[in-house]
Amino acid sequence: MDKKKSATPSRREFLKTAGLGVGVAAVAGGIVSADDAEAATLQDEKKTGYRETEHVKKYYDSARM
């Protein structure tokens, strides 16, 4: 089985022309802290060293329903 993690060129091309890459990425820094590795309110129960920064906490407090 092909273990390549990167996408095939045609998938990348398709995604590139879909309009996803314009704008949202530019504001992504405002949505999540600089390191994308720190994420969810849905926490990995194995606790792989994820720590909530104040910024992430603030985002998730505002996102809490």
């Binding site: 993690k5 996803l20 314009v22 999540v32 994420a39 129960e45 792989t48 996102a63």
Partner: protein, 202 residues
């Protein structure tokens, strides 16, 4: 052995764009927009693609709505007095009821992937905002290493593709939607992009 960080760094720009898109949607759908989020919406830049045009529409509307107005709109759509115009849960869309088998299947899959709901999350896991947040996490590797595309596709097909397009269409056309109409359109278009893109990778 590849570290988690190495795996994340090997993500192409386009995969990161997908992840950010899911995160943006989860933020837009999970709670009423605060001033910061309305500000972010005004910084979006759409290109001339269909999604880009919807983003431009959202940006313009965000510039002309107050936090209070957008909160009122969010509440009318999702909360209401006893029920909002829309009930954005996988179980509800697939069975007409909350907390049914579709939710159980999601929980099983989350368990398999090592995803655990946060203690202070007030809603069941099959809320559209949670599902978008999960997709973001699966792409970038929040719950371990980034999930391979075929496995992302399995998650997407089982818990999102079978109801979210209809939900986004409902959002676009629901009575109270003004700011949330282009959000519905963006979501609907993004679901189409995701479905097509997964077929290219598969």
């Amino acid at each position: 052995m590849t570290s988690v960080l190495d795996a994340q760094l090997s993500l192409s720009a386009e995969e990161k764009f997908r992840a950010h898109f899911y995160l943006l949607l989860s933020r837009l759908l999970g709670a009423p927009a605060d001033a910061e989020l309305l500000g972010l919406m005004q910084e979006l830049e759409g290109d001339d693609s269909a999604i880009g045009e919807a983003i431009t529409d959202l940006k313009k509307l965000a510039a002309n709505i107050s936090v209070d107005q957008s909160a009122e709109e969010y509440e009318a759509i999702f909360i209401g007095v006893t029920q909002g115009e829309l009930t954005p849960f996988k179980s509800y869309y697939l069975t007409g009821f909350l907390n049914e088998k579709p939710l159980a299947e999601l929980r099983q899959h989350m368990d398999e992937l090592g995803i655990e709901k946060s203690e202070d999350a007030a809603e069941p896991e099959d809320h559209i905002a949670f599902l978008c947040e999960m997709m973001h996490g699966l792409i970038v590797g929040s719950f371990g290493k980034p999930l391979a595309l075929p496995e992302q596709y399995r998650f997407f097909e089982n818990h999102i593709a079978n109801w979210a397009p209809k939900f986004f269409e409902d959002l676009e056309t629901t009575e109270s939607a003004r700011l949330y109409a282009p959000i519905g359109r963006i979501g609907k278009l993004f679901m189409e992009v995701e479905s097509e893109a997964f077929l290219i990778a598969a």
